[in-house]
Symmetry: C3
Subunit: 148 residues, 3 copies
């Protein structure tokens, strides 16, 4: 089961008119985008009952030079940063990896368009294949979507 974890600077949790980025809405959009990805055989890549997105603002952070260059450039020194890491199961094709990454990127480009145009911000999207040595799943959620 895939999980997407988002780590970010807490200035993105301000209200949108103060520079925030509505990270709650972003989670939902990313989850929906993941659920819509299909593989070469037109099968849904991620099971509905096993797909989730969790976002965490840092309690403390330091980004780049701390603001001086942004201030000097007239863009402000309140840098923002978002790191997204999706861990998915092993064994998917390179094409599927690409489709998944592009699906996330599509959401990011739309959701952060205003931010990218107006402030110094960096947003990284990475997809990892898990290589766990033990894996167990316990779920009363997954079966909800296997009844049909």
């Amino acid at each position: 089961m895939p999980h997407l974890v988002i780590l970010y600077t807490p200035n993105l949790d301000l209200s949108v008119d103060q520079g925030g980025a509505d990270m709650g809405a972003l989670c939902r959009q990313l989850c929906d985008a993941m659920l819509a990805v299909r593989d070469e055989a037109d099968r849904q890549v991620f099971p509905t009952g096993g797909t989730r997105v969790l976002a965490y603002p840092a309690a403390h952070s330091a980004v780049s030079d701390g603001g001086a260059t942004g201030i000097a450039a007239g863009l402000g020194g309140d840098y923002a940063f978002v790191y997204m890491n999706l861990r998915m199961a092993q064994g998917r094709s390179a094409l599927t990896h690409q489709r998944v990454g592009e699906a996330l990127q599509g959401v990011v480009k739309a959701h952060f368009a205003t931010q990218l145009a107006s402030r110094p911000i960096g947003i990284t999207v990475q997809v990892d294949e898990g290589h766990e040595v033990f894996d167990a799943k316990n779920s009363s959620l997954h079966p909800l979507f296997q009844r049909t």
Copy 2:
């Protein structure tokens, strides 16, 4: 030194009678279970002074379809999710990995039995072997357990 990180939906931090799962008690149970694992030579796998569990509720999250299917099934739409990842040092046997994973699973199955029986929830337990390119430990805790 091993560390177990738990990422979860914040609805599990409610009081137990409101649907919470006492995540603090879970941390202690998992730590105790890790300390009790023994390898093929009957040695303690994880050093007492180097074993720890850290749990993080997400500030924002999105799980599965957001609730519609759970509501339709009469189970409620307040989905919960827990992801546990234990990172341990390289070089342990496959049997040790299995014992470690099963020790965590034993705690999970007991601790979440009520939750699994009564709401849509997914709990994943994974164990990774670290492959770090640099590793340094600084500790005044570890030596406490090497004095005997």
Copy 3:
């Protein structure tokens, strides 16, 4: 682009005179140390616009035996723990990995000297090479440092 994530026990967020460790200042020091690392060709290893440190106190945690041995030793049972993981891009030399790790270690040893001398605490510093299957960067921060 590198990112350093710090997971730690929340007792380190107390004020310094109550046993805290000023984790905000630590983030800045670590970021500065990362920016100062140079490779064999005397080039800056990490791009200024892509370097960041994010720190997260756990909401719940369990460390070691929970305190009994520290209390018995007269050092107190309020154990602290810090886990630092830096993920950097693939392809750097072993010497660069070593320099990066030692730069972080230099900060840690100075910043936590008092803590290490006065309480049970463990601080782990690890550096990972990422092995992502998809990687995309969106940034209005990075270009600020490429204008010269």
